[in-house]
Amino acid sequence: MSVRNLAILAALAAGVVLLAFVPSVTNGYQLSLAINIMSYTVLATAWTLFSGPTRYVSLATVAFFGIGAYTVAVLGEELAWPLVLLIAFVIGFGLSLLVGLSTLRLSGVYFVIFTFGLAELVRQLVTWYEVNVTRTLGRYVFVDITTAQIYWQLLALAVIVLLSGWLIQRSKLGLALRVIGDDEAVARHVGINTTMAKVVLFAFSASFMTLAGAIMAPRWTYIDPAIAFNPVVSFQVLIMALLGGVHRLYGPIFGVIPLVMLFEILLAKFPNHFSILVGIAFLLIVYAIPRGIVGLIEGAQLSLSRKGAKA
């Protein structure tokens, strides 16, 4: 490991330690804002883990997020918390393998539509089960987990997602995925098992989302399919990742923070015009910053260094 990498790692570790103290210096509202940022950071980074290199746009985020929340609703009062999280992870992983194997042969817009449909399918299945089998729609989550604990778990998960992403990028799998993202036909011709690579990565990305849902569930006390599988979450994650920049794993963070703050300001100042203002913001992002904020910064750095080289 080079000195530069070590320095980066040390800086990151210090940052995480600092972030761990957030609950002791904030009031309840600021902490819930921090939780919001942290949960979207996990979701958008997990999204980028798969969609960044492969360029497969997924709208299934909330399918997995919701499954995580439901796992807690069903098992939260029965089992020890770490066990509940483990089960959520396993369910997310298993389901995403199944989904991945059957669908990652699709590409382009077909994949987008499929993933959007998947979230709706899962929601309808859960609804059907609850209505016809358990005969109660809506479950109560009374678990003794404080807001600060939710924040710390999300922080830990964010670190895990970033680290696994970093490790994957450095592995053969990471290389394979970049080739797939550039041209899938070429990737197949040079002997990469493209399906396998995509499915494995999809499963990791999805199970992180599932964990995020499980960690967040105790915040709501009550869960029904409409709450757990709210499609808005998928779209927000997508737009946050795009704003930040998806060609770097840490990119989405630069999208999550400004957008969460923007939503907050719009909600407070313009409660009656929220939707239209958000729509305008989304249009601006897609047209004005197609490569995201990280892309903008890197572009600026590049042109600076070019100028330097000329002089």
């Binding site: 009031n27 209505v131 005969r135 709501w220 006390t221 009550y222 029904d224 909600l267 407070a268 409660p271």
Partner: protein
């Protein structure tokens, strides 16, 4: 004395987060937001809330947020109201799910939570867990019990047979009520000859109404939501299906129902109900009409406004913005409201309002429980006019 006068705040901050957008916005707009507007307008017209501690009336200042029909947004908005805006009082959001989501936050900071758009069978348990929470609409079981009692009486009088056709929307509301109803009907010896649920958003009600008709049941019950309520009644009218007792769900007691069905609304039964000879309730309706140009709904609206009046009276009796004392007063006091006298028992009103109503001569009157002013249920339902 002078220092106390100086210490008086300019306004009393009342905050709420409610669904202005998203799937909950419709319900919030009919049952809840007009009540908030009317209450604030009425209180401020008097000069504000009378606070003895300062020896004067202090006007209300409203801070409102949109929770976008999302639990997480609602929790954060309520935290923002408490911690950033430092509101003196909070009004509840709309709906069962979101009221439960913000329950722990209201409880942690000990703000009274006067929910009046939440029906949950865990209400008694929730009131124990969060003593600051009040569940004005009560449990689904109490509505079903009243319905079963009515039907048992009709059967005894030989007015209906013991067959029941029942459908429910596959959502929290429909599932809760149909579950309670199944248990209630079985106990009372009714036979459910048709019992189906349909997904939210179902538009074609022809198969459901057709099967119900073929089932030969005299009683048809639909635990439905507004769009399906309208579709079911439309379909029944189209095929001239007139069960002796016709019960439909949310929407039946909305102002749109008589507007759409006119005389054909006659005889339809649902939740809630209105007192025709209570002057205060009628005055309340006039005020809402003036404010938002339409009627209140005939279930939760009046109860919600009463809950706000109770909050107001509690504050004025306590004489200061001491939330613990206000909660105590709400739990133990007796209050005069637009629907009459209310005293709470375990944080829920007891025998204070109509559980079931029926459209009779253009008014949605209360037919159960048996209390003063109750109207007789009209059976069989009048045939459809085309």
């Amino acid at each position: 004395m002078l220092s106390a006068q100086n210490a008086a705040p300019k306004t009393i901050k009342v905050g709420y987060a409610i669904s202005k957008t998203g799937p909950n916005a419709g319900g919030a707009n009919i049952t809840q937001i007009p009540n908030y507007q009317l209450w604030v307008q009425e209180v401020n017209a008097k000069g504000g809330l009378m606070i003895k501690q300062y020896g004067k009336r202090i006007p209300i200042e409203v801070i409102e947020y949109d929770d976008r029909s999302n639990s997480e947004e609602a929790v954060r908005a309520v935290e923002r109201l408490i911690e950033q805006d430092k509101v003196d009082l909070l009004l509840p959001p709309w709906g069962t799910g979101i009221n439960l989501a913000v329950g722990p936050t209201f409880n942690k900071h000990n703000y009274p939570q006067i929910t009046f758009s939440a029906v949950t069978d865990r209400a008694p348990e929730l009131a124990k867990r969060w003593p600051n929470s009040f569940w004005f609409l009560g449990t689904s079981k109490q509505y079903v019990d009243a319905l079963v009692e009515l039907l048992v009486k009709l059967r005894k009088e030989g007015k209906i047979n013991d067959l029941i056709a029942m459908v429910s929307v596959a959502d929290g509301f429909g599932t809760d009520l149909s579950k309670a109803a199944r248990a209630g009907f079985e106990k009372a010896g009714f036979k459910r000859v048709f019992d189906k649920s349909y997904p939210v958003g179902t538009q074609d009600m022809a198969p459901i109404v057709g099967e119900a008709e073929r089932s030969k049941a005299d009683t048809f019950i639909a635990f439905s939501y507004p769009p399906d309520t309208v579709a079911i009644v439309d379909q029944a009218r189209l095929t001239s299906y007139a069960p002796k007792v016709m019960f439909t769900g949310v929407g039946t007691f909305f102002p749109l129902f008589p507007q759409r069905f006119g005389d054909n609304a006659e005889g339809v039964v649902s939740l809630g109900g209105w007192s025709k000879d209570n002057k205060a309730t009628m005055e309340y309706r006039e005020k809402i009409r003036k404010l938002v140009n339409r009627d209140p709904d005939y279930w939760g609206s009046q109860i919600g406004y009463s809950a706000l009046q109770m909050l107001e009276q509690s504050i004025e009796r306590v004489g200061k913005l001491d939330r613990a004392a206000i909660i105590k007063e709400l739990q133990t006091g007796t209050f005069d409201t637009v629907i009459g006298k209310i005293k709470l028992e375990n944080n829920m009103p007891k025998d204070a309002f109509w559980l079931l109503g029926q459209w009779q001569d253009g008014l949605y009157v209360g037919v159960a429980p048996q209390r003063p002013g109750v109207a007789d249920l009209r059976v069989p339902k009048a045939p459809w006019k085309k």
